[in-house]
């Protein structure tokens, strides 16, 4: 999907072309422009880099999609980043950006929509002229609409349902956990709602939510003095003042026992995700403790986490196994999370990468067994110390680019915490093992969990899971005796399903309506 791919491309930011005179004339113009709104939220990271990074963020996202119009927030964003402005067609925009090797991308989530791009200072005036037109004076052309709506539908049908069982399972899990909730549909929408959307729906969404009150200006780099005021005054001139969009979030529905959706799809491997809501975000006191638990139990794409070692390294079950306390889309394509996916509600999630179907039920049991063990036994002092040392250093790598620093700074403002890396390091330094083990007991459990499985014999998987018979793992190479003994426990690990909440769903029904 263009929305995500382009943003990924953009976040590969620019650098240092030698020399290149700063556009002093432009700076003078800006200084003259003068008057700026003082009420507009902004995060500014000026420095001496020859690059300028933009993040135009709105505190409005797909949670605001009206019932029956799911996808309107996402499609509005892509009409801006991947469609024409009133002054320029998309073709003209692409042609103008091409020699600068830059672009302007969008990312949509439940509560945030962000537009981002980076340019060399040499091209700042030209680049800003284009993107300000895109954002503040969008074209909303019918031909762009038709193209991007088809892209959105194809994203759901092809990219998720068709080509990526892992993301399909993870996204289906989110939809299931937030059933009946404002977060309860895929960010891009549903196939049926997208088919009914009109350009007028998008214009209305834009008018209502792309307001000064929802706007946060993010700027980093060597932009000239007065530039932020220029941007703010342009925004003030074009966007309605509005009021901050207020969305009252309900609590996600209670999970009773193991609830499972088995997605029927003709696919060679079995993808598994499971999770449940946690009342912890970066704003909360327990977040640093859970961050440490997440890292220990399932640090993303790391061979050093507990789950990875037990499932992949010792048993060769699959390619990897990870855990999350925040939404982390596109994890199969990247090692680090994207910023600006801030949410007021999060889930704890385990991602078991595709396994051979014959080991599917064993893998699910192994994941739940390990989670249960974590909750029962907590972490050891040694693991706590090692993980804290790791995170304290590793957090630096999250903000290695100017664009990432800007994204994290905006998120820290959203969550009301100090600078992200300082905050994490300071909090980790204060943490004690007992804080972490208390947080585990308080927030994690393995009994009331929603599960999403993608597999070719969905009915067979469901029946085997419900029957509760042992599901032994099949090995190519026998592991050590103690592992085989543990396997005996795992293969019979009791799965207490909520029989009313176990269903088989054909893949073409997922994200359909």
């Amino acid at each position: 999907m263009r929305v995500s791919n382009r943003l990924a491309l953009i976040s590969i930011v620019l650098l240092i072309l030698t020399a290149g005179a700063t556009d002093i004339g432009f700076a003078r113009d800006l200084a003259r422009t003068g008057k700026a709104s003082t009420s507009m939220a902004s995060v500014l990271l000026p420095n001496s880099s020859p690059l300028v990074s933009f993040r135009f963020l709105f505190n409005a996202g797909s949670a605001l999609d009206p019932k029956g119009k799911e996808g309107v927030a996402a499609l509005t964003a892509s009409m801006i980043s991947d469609g024409g402005s009133r002054a320029m067609s998309y073709e003209q925009i692409s042609a103008a950006m091409y020699p600068m090797a830059t672009s302007f991308g969008s990312q949509i989530d439940k509560e945030m929509t962000v537009f981002a791009g980076t340019t060399h200072l040499d091209n700042l005036q030209k680049y800003y002229g284009i993107i300000s037109g895109m954002l503040l004076d969008p074209g909303f052309r019918d031909d762009d609409f038709n193209r991007l709506r088809t892209d959105a539908i194809n994203f759901l049908k092809e990219s998720l349902r068709g080509n990526n069982d892992e993301e399909l399972g993870k996204e289906a899990l989110y939809v299931a956990i937030y059933n009946g909730h404002a977060y309860g549909h895929q960010n891009i929408g549903t196939v049926e709602s997208l088919e009914k959307l009109t350009v007028e729906d998008l214009k209305k969404f834009y008018r209502d939510n792309y307001t000064q009150a929802n706007f946060v200006l993010g700027l980093a780099g060597g932009y000239p003095k007065g530039f932020e005021e220029k941007v703010q005054s342009d925004v003030a001139a074009k966007l309605a003042a509005g009021a901050a969009t207020k969305l009252a979030l309900t609590q996600p529905e209670k999970i009773s026992g193991l609830e499972m959706q088995v997605i029927q799809k003709d696919t060679p491997a079995t993808a598994i995700s499971f999770g449940f809501p946690i009342p912890v975000t970066r704003s909360d006191q327990d977040w640093p403790a859970l961050l440490l638990v997440q890292s220990y139990f399932g640090q993303h794409r790391s061979s050093n986490s507990y789950l990875y070692k037990r499932l992949r390294e010792i048993r060769g079950l699959n390619y990897g196994d990870y855990a999350y306390i925040e939404y982390f889309p596109r994890g199969m394509f990247q090692f680090q999370p994207d910023p600006n996916l801030g949410r007021r509600q999060q889930i704890f999630q385990v991602w078991i990468r595709p396994v051979e179907p014959k080991n599917g039920l064993f893998a699910l049991r192994a994941g739940l067994y390990e989670l249960n063990k974590l909750v029962r036994t907590g972490m050891s002092q040694e693991d706590f110390d090692a993980t804290r040392r790791f995170l304290t250093k590793n957090v630096n790598t999250l903000t290695k680019t100017q664009d990432a620093q800007l994204g994290y700074a905006i998120d820290s403002k959203y969550y009301g915490i100090p600078s992200f890396t300082d905050y994490v390091r300071d909090q980790l330094a204060k943490l004690k093992l007992e804080d972490v083990n208390r947080a585990i007991k308080k927030h994690l459990q393995a009994e009331n969990v929603k599960i999403a499985v993608v597999t070719k014999d969905a009915e067979g998987f469901k029946q085997a899971a419900l029957e509760g018979k042992p599901s032994p793992i099949s090995y190519t190479s026998m592991p050590a005796k103690e592992i085989l003994e543990e396997d005996k426990i795992i293969e019979s690990y009791k799965l207490n399903f909520n029989l009313k909440k176990v269903e088989v769903v054909p893949v073409d029904q997922v994200f359909q309506k």
Binding site: I16, A95, Y98, T267, N304, N394
Partner: protein, 449 residues
């Protein structure tokens, strides 16, 4: 810019650095040091604080898998390298990396295997020691070997639901008859499934390729040249040079256009691939750079074809060109996803027509100038942190073992004229270099060639 290489005899002779990087696409000063055993070290100190990116490029990839039944082995070996040594078994190795807060991983492609670790500068000594140990002393017991082969099968499985993987597998198998580019880096599924039985070959593979003459260490970040040289001397000087040179089969000249249809068992929009056999990477000949420019001119978002098929007619939702640099002649491939199966033939014809247009007339000067600007900014401006610099260098280092090749390449780009473009188009976009693949949803395979 002049680069002063170190003496081949004594690494400990401190090397002067390049004095000026101005007006070069690679703007950093760098140091090149060669050990007597053939190991090369490229050091690029940067101003980005604290972080060090250590990339170790092995000039061995799936291209080196010359024996039947051994496809996918370079990639399997990449996995095995994380399985430990006598001194640092996997558990101890991982513990040490965790202690350093390091991000560590690796990847394999046709021509290279790259091990990358990013960490804080105070851990450079420790990480360098660990890397030197595993490159020289890897020891994987047979049971761990077999378990790791299953993780590789898991990696194959995670991609199995993607028709693009299948599209590329079929494209390579159709286009190449003898060269090892015939298979993808993952390898043929049958070979991946047989990997548990290949333990002895894994020992042979290590003996052949994990040798200093195949390896270049790239250190970028908050480091000094002297500091790096000292550590390399300390940990890598005792590594023994190898003696193996693979005989990579030469691909026989194609005599007719090739094509194949691929049936995909689940619902998908059709995919079309049109590929021409192009030249190998070169920083002295204009062929590859000229075709790089065409791949951007002809098929990027601003191209006439993209604007026509994706934006105006809206018959295609994905259009992209792929022409990665390779040691041997490889394919310039254009891939499109077609929204309606009835437009497959039309799309294929339009792509071929776009290739042909570069033969018919020289490209307009302003378009050529725009693509040069795009390539230059696109590359140079992506070097915005130490890890990105190392990651961008690694493919070129694996090919030519010096960052200087980048400067030469971009000088070549700058020198290319509209006439060069036309000449290269005439040379390469001919039917006897072409392979096309169409992948579509069909219940039953109906392949033809």
């Amino acid at each position: 810019m002049r680069l002063f290489k170190s003496s081949l005899l004594l690494l400990s002779i401190v090397m002067p650095l390049t004095t000026s990087a101005q007006n070069k696409i690679f703007p950093y000063k760098y140091f090149t040091d060669d050990l007597p055993n053939g190991l090369r070290v490229i050091t690029v100190p940067t101003d980005y604080p604290n972080i060090v990116a250590l990339y170790i490029a092995v000039s061995t990839g799936s291209r080196n898998e010359i024996e039947a039944g051994k496809s996918g082995f370079a990639h399997l070996f990449e996995h095995l390298m994380f399985r430990g040594t006598e001194k640092f078994p996997a558990e101890a190795y991982n513990r040490a990396l965790k202690n350093a807060g390091a991000d560590s991983n690796a990847y394999t492609s046709d021509d290279r295997t790259v091990y990358h670790t990013v960490f804080s500068k105070e851990d450079l000594d420790q990480i360098m020691m660990l890397e030197a140990d595993r490159f020289q002393n890897l020891k994987v017991p047979v049971d761990l070997f077999k378990t790791e082969t299953r993780a590789v099968l898991g990696e194959y499985n995670k991609n199995a639901s993607s028709p693009v993987r299948q599209l590329y597998e079929s494209l390579r198998e159709t286009a190449f008859k003898t060269h090892t580019y015939q298979h993808t880096t993952m390898g043929f599924l049958r070979d991946v499934e047989n990997m548990p039985n290949m333990y002895d070959y894994s020992l042979e593979f290590f003996k052949r390729y994990y040798r200093p003459e195949y390896v270049t260490i790239i250190v970028v970040g908050d480091v000094t040249h002297d500091g790096v040289v000292q550590l390399v001397n300390k940990y890598w000087a005792g590594w023994q040079r190898g003696s193996y040179t693979p005989q990579i089969p030469t691909e026989a000249e194609q005599t007719a256009p090739l094509s194949t249809d691929v049936a995909w068992p689940t619902t998908t929009l059709p995919w079309v691939a049109v590929a021409f056999k192009g030249p190998a990477y070169s920083d002295t000949e204009k062929d590859k750079p000229a075709l790089d420019l065409i791949s951007s001119l002809g098929f990027s978002q601003t191209s006439d074809l993209y604007q026509k098929l994706v934006i105006k007619e809206q018959k295609v939702d994905t259009l992209l060109a792929d022409f990665e640099d390779h040691r041997d002649p490889y394919l310039l491939t254009v891939v499109a996803r077609v929204k309606d199966p009835k437009d497959v033939e039309y799309t294929k014809a339009e792509i071929i027509k776009a290739f042909d247009s570069y033969k018919a007339a020289p490209v307009a000067a302003d378009k050529l100038s725009a693509v040069k600007s795009n390539l230059k900014y696109g590359f140079a401006l992506s070097l915005d942190n130490s890890e990105a610099i190392a990651a961008n260098l690694a493919p070129y280092i694996a090919l030519k073992r010096t960052p200087e090749t980048l400067n030469k390449l971009y000088d070549l780009y700058a020198s290319i004229t509209p006439q060069d473009i036309q000449q290269m188009a005439k040379k390469y976009f001919v039917e006897t270099r072409r392979t096309t693949v169409v992948l579509a949803h069909k219940e039953k395979q109906n392949a033809s060639q």
